[in-house]
Amino acid sequence: MATEGLRVENQSATLDSLQREAENLKKKLEEEKDKLKDIDINVVAQRLDPLAPISLKPRKVLKGHLAKVLCMDWSNDKRHVVSSSQDGKLLVWDAFSTNKEHAFSMQTTWVMACCYAPSSTLIACGGLDNKCTIYPLTMEEDQAKKKVVGTHASYLSCCEFTHSDHQIVTGSGDSTLALWDVESGTLMHSFHGHTGDVTSLHLSPTECGSVLASGSCDNTLMIWDMRTGQCAQMFDSHESDVNAVRFYPSGDAVASASDDATCRLFDLRADREVCAYKKQSVIFGCNSIDFSLSGRILFAGYNDYVVNLWDTLKSTRLCMLYGHDNRVSCVRVSPDGTALCTSSWDYTLRIWA
């Protein structure tokens, strides 16, 4: 008994010392980063020309879901959209004509993740069933052809195909991410390091298939090397859950959105936060973000039913999009940058241009 007690005490002592060591290293790391902070970006950005006023209007409203829309994704053909909802339905839309082209019913409710394959012939989805399921988009609605690619220990929160239809990356509430071979369902890599639920992931647009970013409920954002499965960089300046991550189009920076009502931009080469997008009157958590094609505009969907447009470089707000009557769950710019699609808990999707 006595030795047992001693061991527990020892353990907590080592834990404390380890904790201290980690804290010290963190401080040192910050100092190291600060050495290279040679300019105040807000001051430099002041000098940039402001953008011309932007006015986006809702061009299409996609109605058909009978529950909260939780996730959506664009097809590479620039006009089709897949969306998933809380009642377990998956719809494929021709957003241009607003027609529904396919519908799938999942066994589970809360389908929190869905995405299009690069070839636009498959869609993947998952949610509280912990599985990533793939449906082919064929003319005959043959649900028997669906295929389960991977299973997590907790709910599936996000998924994205790599450059091809043959690999898919998934993120889950079990605080890991995984890379799967679609054909065989083999786990090719898993990514451990987060201490809270993984909420979002995005593959680098320039180093597709080798660099991956993820956000988590542990308030951090991590950059992963997909070849080794190792975490390459970590950013922890958010004060609450990180709900979304998105690469800057050049692949050199990553933006994040959080429940602390801010969005932030982290530069990968400077290895630090370079911009924060916040305002006194913005008090609700942000759920989803995306960049315009050039990266100058950051679209952000919030829990206060609004989409805010931020000037990425000047960190000022450009305008607000009103229209949804409930939380905005997902925002995505179309592949050619011509339109913005937003999905909401008010059961609708909207296309803005």
Partner: protein, 564 residues
């Protein structure tokens, strides 16, 4: 306090609810808050109320909101979350910027202190209302159903509930009238937002994702050790200066601004706005004719070229003339290999080796001995990354050598000159779409240049007077920028740079002016010469070399860095 409680408190501190509470507390301060007073409407006095004007004005002033629409929206949210409520309006929870009256909710009823309202309290509230004046306090249909349901589920507590309700009604009768009105309205407002009718919005619906979320656990020793190792590695990491990284972010925005439909409206039109999908037909990845915009992007960087399948195709055509197309084919195959299904990787890996790397391979690529040795080693256990090193090597080779020549060479310039430049004219599109259909089989898009050139010229002239010239010099300007960026580490625009650029721009515009004149004088000749270009590879490679020489003279200090 347990750890979980602390975590929960912590989570609350950072949530939107806490931020709303802060704002409302501020609003209620005596001197600086929203003015609350008895309001008179006709003959009735309404105690403890404020107007929509007041709250909107207060929000605008205190939270630096420029647009009253935003203040109204925020006030409506405070309303939907039950921090304030409309006094008379029973239908809507929107705050309006007018004389309509609102009242603060008492803090005891704030969502911050009532994360989940208890069913027993709800039952007491409903029973109370049933005991009172039907006309004023009668239940709605959905509330009646709720009441019946609660009576069933809480049957063991029902005596207690009824007694409580009776007691509270009695107490209320003893209150002063003003107090009674206020308290009554506050209680009702609380249940109105917490138990909304079936068709009404419930702001308190929780996100399943957040409910299921496991809060971070206490870190284990093992985890901490890994964290320390990671931190140590991070400290030694090489980093860029802030100024440098911000400049490159800026550069990207600037370079792509005219390609971003949200910043520059696309030509001919944005399909979502005009309901005309021509843009997609023109920009189709398989389109036989490229737009000028699309081609200009190829000159941004080698990666940008490789991102466009048509860019790869044209680059390969060019390399064929240089007899080095195996490089791009090898790169393409390696790229494909990385994304193949696992089952096919090994076989394909071998095939690639025998096609490109083995001795006497049919299209042998040129890599150095060490890379070759490493690749041989990697091939023993072939996986998706077997050729990574070799691919990297070839990539750099092409980037530094062939790509630069391709972009400067005649082929690219001819393609660029022949590229379509759609304007918003209707006539032009019908032409493009027919060409697209007709040219499906033809891989080289410069087969009918005269017609296209005319098209593009008219398009430009339609847009701006000096169309053609400015376009040409602009694209060379882009080229120049590219060179600057890659040759020098810090593109601080010095005066020499500017001078150089001016000079080059002058030369190029002179050249393009000449071209332009040639076109005008003898369009037929042009028509003949271009197809010859694309069909006679030998003649053409000579020409390409020649023109390369010309270009290097024009850009004296740029070529040298590529060579080393």
């Amino acid at each position: 306090m347990t750890r979980i409680d602390m975590d929960l408190q912590d989570a609350y501190r950072r949530s939107a609810l806490s931020r709303m509470s802060e704002i409302v507390e501020w609003m209620q301060q005596d001197n600086t808050g929203v003015p609350v007073r008895c309001q008179k409407i006709f003959l009735t006095t309404i105690p403890c109320a404020f107007t929509g004007y007041d709250v909107v004005e207060w929000l605008c002033e205190k939270l630096n909101i420029e647009d009253s629409a935003e203040a109204m929206h925020l006030a409506s949210l405070l309303c939907q979350y039950g921090y304030l409520f409309p006094v008379t309006d029973t239908k809507s929870l929107q705050v309006r910027d007018d004389g309509s009256l609102y009242r603060f909710q008492t803090p005891a009823f704030w969502p911050s202190y009532n994360s989940k309202p208890d069913d027993v309290y709800y039952a007491i509230y409903l029973t109370k209302r049933m005991m009172r004046n039907k006309q004023k306090h009668g239940l709605e249909d959905f509330e009646l159903i709720e009441h019946a349901r609660l009576q069933k589920t809480l049957c063991d507590k029902w005596d207690f509930i009824r007694m409580q309700a009776e007691e509270q009604v009695k107490l209320l009768k003893e209150c002063k009238k003003a107090d009674k009105v206020v308290r009554d309205s506050q209680e009702r407002a609380f249940w109105r937002v917490r138990k909304p009718g079936p068709s009404q919005l419930n702001a308190f619906e929780e996100d399943k994702k957040k409910l299921a979320a496991t809060r971070p656990k206490r870190k284990s020793a093992d985890f901490l050790q890994r964290e320390i190792a990671f931190l140590l590695k991070s400290i030694d990491r090489s980093r860029a200066k802030c100024s440098h990284s911000f400049e490159s972010l800026q550069h990207h925005c600037h370079q792509y601004a005219e390609h971003d439909p949200f910043l520059t409206s696309p030509q001919p039109s944005n399909p979502w706005i005009s309901d005309d999908s021509t843009l997609w037909n023109i920009d189709d990845p398989n389109a036989a004719v490229y737009t000028e915009k699309r081609m200009k992007r190829w000159a941004f960087s080698f990666d940008e070229l490789l991102r466009d399948p048509a860019g790869i195709q044209e680059f390969e055509n060019y390399l064929k003339k240089e007899y080095s197309s195996e490089n791009i084919r090898f790169w393409k195959e390696c790229e494909k290999l990385r994304f193949l299904p696992l089952s096919k990787v090994e076989k394909r890996g071998e095939e690639i080796f025998y096609e490109f790397l083995a001795k006497h391979a049919s299209s042998e690529v040129n890599i150095d001995g060490r890379t070759m040795e490493n690749t041989r080693q990697a091939l023993k256990k072939a996986d998706r990354f077997t050729f990574r090193e070799a691919q990297e090597h070839i990539y750099l080779l092409m980037k530094k050598d062939s790509y630069v020549r391709f972009i400067r060479g005649d082929d690219y310039q001819t393609l660029l000159a022949n590229a379509v430049c759609p304007s918003s004219r209707k006539k032009f599109f019908s032409f493009v779409s027919t060409v697209t259909a007709a040219n499906k089989k033809q891989k080289t898009p410069n087969l009918s240049p005269s017609a296209k050139r005319r098209g593009s010229a008219t398009g430009l002239e339609g847009k701006a007077g000096n169309g053609g010239l400015s376009q040409h010099s602009f694209s060379t300007g882009n080229l120049r920028e590219l060179d600057d960026r890659s040759t020098k580490s810090s593109p601080n625009g010095s005066s020499t740079d500017l001078k150089d650029e001016k000079e080059i721009r002058r030369k190029f515009s002179a050249k393009s002016l000449k071209q332009k004149l040639d076109d005008l004088v003898s369009p037929k000749e042009q028509k003949l010469s271009v197809p010859k270009n694309s069909r006679g590879p030998i003649v053409n490679s000579n020409q390409a070399n020649d023109s390369c020489g010309v270009e290097t003279i024009a850009v004296p200090n740029v070529v040298a860095p590529w060579d080393d």
